[in-house]
Amino acid sequence: MKPSRAGWLFVAPALMAIAVFFVVPVAAALLMSATDFDIYALADLRNVRFVGLGNYLQLLQTPLFWRALLNTLFFVVVGVPLSIGMSLGTALLLHSPLVRFRGFYRTALFAPVVTTLAAVAVVWVFLLHARYGLLNYGLSWLGLHPVDWLGDPHWAMPSIVLLSVWKNFGYNMIILLAGLQAIPGELYEAAQLDGAGPGALFRHVTVPALAPMLLMVSILTMAGHFQIFAEPYVMTQGGPAERTVTVLYLMYENGFKWWSLGSASAVAFVLFLFMLGFSLLQARLTRSAAFS
C-alpha cells in the first residue's frame, strides 16, 4: 500500500465521523434556524414551514432574549478579566524563586479545574446559602450583613462569576506559568543593568513577552465564558427575575423544554456570531495596542 493511499485511509474514519456528526448538523442547524420547527414538526416532519429570518426577527422582539444576551455579556465582561487577573497573579507568585512547596501549590490551585462543574455547583449552592452558608458566616465575622446570594437579582450573576473564577483560574495559571518560565533570563538581566526596578521589569519585560499568550488565553477564556450553561441550570434555574438566564440556557429551554428547535437553532447561531465577533475584536484591540 502506498503512503498516499494509506494517508487517506488513516484519516478517513475521523473525517467521516466529523462530517456526519459535526459538519452535517451545523449545516442542518443553519437550515433549521430558518424554519418553524416545533413540537408538531417533531411528530410529523410535514408540519415544518420555511420562515426565512423569522426566528431571528422574533428573537429581537423577545425581552427574554435581550435579557439572556445581557446576562451572558455581564458574565463574560466581568468574569473573564477577573479570572485571568487571578490566573496571572497566582502564576507570578508561583514563578517567584522564593516559593517553597511549588509543586503542592500548583496542584492545589489547579484542583478545581478537573472537578465536575455540575457537582461543585451544587456545593456552592450551599456555601452561598443565605442563612446557613459559610460565605455569609465568614462575612458576619467581618461585621458585614448577610446577602441572599442566589436569591437576590443583583447578586445571583456575581455569585456565579465567583464560582466560575474559583473553578477556572487554575487552568490559565498553568499556561501563563509556562509562558513566564519561557521568558529568557537575559532579558531581565539586561533590563536590570539598565537600572529597571521590579515594577519596570514587569511592565517592560514580562508583559510584552507574555502578550501573545495573554491574547490567546483571553480569546479562549472568552469563548468558554460565552458557553455558560450548567451553573444557571443547577444553581438558579435562570432566576431570580430571569437574571441568570444565559444564551445557552435560553437555547436549552426553547429547544428541549418547549421543543421549538427552529428558534433554538437561531439562538445558537446568534451565540456563534457573538463569540466570533468578540474574538475578532479582542485580536484587533490587542494588535492596535501593540503598535501604539
Partner: protein, 273 residues
C-alpha cells in the same frame, strides 16, 4: 532584610489562596459525613460531630446511584477508547503521511474549531431520535468519536518522529499499517496517554449533551443525575454533598495520578504552532 520579607509575602499569599481554593472541596467532604440536617444549623459547623457514612448508604441503597456510577464509567471509558481509535491514526497521518489535499483538509478542520458544539445539538438530537439512539450510551458517545483538538494534539507530537525511521521500515518492506502499529504507536505512547486522560475527564464532567440525550434516570451519568436529584432534594444538603463527592472523587484521583500527562496536553492544546 528585604528578601525574607518578600519570601514571607509570597509564601503567605500562596498559602492563603490555596486554603481558599481547597476549602469548598474540603467542606464538601466534611458535610457529606454529617448526620441529616446537621449542616443546616447556625453557626454552620465545619466538622461533623460524629462522622457517618449514612448519606452514602442512602444514595446507594435508596437512590440506586450505583447505576449512574456504572453509566458514567462505561460512557467515559468507551468515549476514551473511541477517541483514541479515531484520533491517533488521523493525527499521525496528518503529520507523517503525504496525501493529496492534506494541508487544506487540516486547515479546514482547525477552522471548524471556531464553531461552538452547541450549534449541532438540535439537529444531532433529531438525528439520534430517528436512529432510536436517544437514551442510549451510543447517543451520549456520538460527540466523542473524533475531535479536531485530539487530532491536532497527536499531529503536533507525531511531527517529532524522524522520517528516516519510517523510511527504513518501508525499505525493509513493512506495510503502512504495520509501521503504524509496530514503529509509530510505541513512540506516540505519551500523547496517547495524554489524550486518554483528557477525554476521560472531559466526558466524565460533560453536562449539557448528556442532559439532553439521556432523559431516563436509568441511563443518566452522575453529573446529570446529581443535578436532577439536587432540584428534588434542595433541603438534603448532606445527601447532596455525598453525591458530589462520589461524582468528583474519581476524576480528582485520576488527575492526581496522571497529572503530568494532563498538564502536557493542556499546554499543547493551547500553544498553537
Amino acid at each position: 532584610m528585604r528578601r525574607p520579607l518578600a519570601s514571607l509575602f509570597v509564601n503567605l499569599a500562596l498559602a492563603l489562596t490555596a486554603l481558599l481554593t481547597l476549602f469548598p472541596l474540603a467542606w464538601m467532604v466534611c458535610a457529606s459525613l454529617m448526620a441529616p440536617g446537621e449542616a443546616s444549623t447556625y453557626p454552620p459547623p465545619m466538622l461533623p460531630r460524629s462522622a457517618t457514612l449514612a448519606n452514602y448508604r442512602l444514595l446507594f441503597a435508596e437512590h440506586g446511584i450505583l447505576r449512574q456510577v456504572a453509566n458514567s464509567f462505561v460512557i467515559s471509558l468507551l468515549a476514551t477508547a473511541l477517541s483514541l481509535l479515531f484520533n491517533v491514526s488521523a493525527g499521525y497521518a496528518f503529520a507523517k503521511l503525504r496525501f493529496a489535499g492534506r494541508e487544506r483538509v487540516f486547515r479546514l478542520l482547525l477552522g471548524a474549531l471556531i464553531i461552538p458544539a452547541q450549534v449541532t445539538m438540535m439537529p444531532l438530537f433529531l438525528m439520534l431520535k430517528e436512529m432510536g439512539l436517544v437514551n442510549t450510551y451510543a447517543g451520549a458517545l456520538v460527540p466523542w468519536l473524533a475531535s479536531v483538538l485530539g487530532i491536532f494534539m497527536v499531529r503536533q507530537y507525531a511531527l517529532t518522529i524522524p522520517d528516516e525511521l519510517l523510511e527504513a521500515a518501508r525499505i525493509d518492506g513493512a506495510g503502512e499499517l504495520r509501521i503504524f502499529t509496530v514503529v509509530v504507536l510505541p513512540l506516540l505512547k505519551p500523547i496517547v496517554v495524554t489524550l486518554a486522560v483528557l477525554t476521560f475527564l472531559g466526558s466524565w464532567n460533560d453536562f449539557m449533551w448528556p442532559l439532553i440525550v439521556l432523559t431516563d434516570h436509568g441511563v443518566q451519568t452522575l453529573p446529570v443525575a446529581l443535578a436532577v436529584l439536587s432540584r428534588e432534594h434542595v433541603q438534603d444538603l448532606e445527601l447532596m454533598m455525598a453525591g458530589a463527592v462520589i461524582t468528583v472523587l474519581p476524576v480528582l484521583l485520576l488527575f492526581l495520578a496522571l497529572q503530568r500527562y494532563y498538564v502536557q496536553g493542556m499546554l499543547m492544546g493551547s500553544v498553537k504552532g
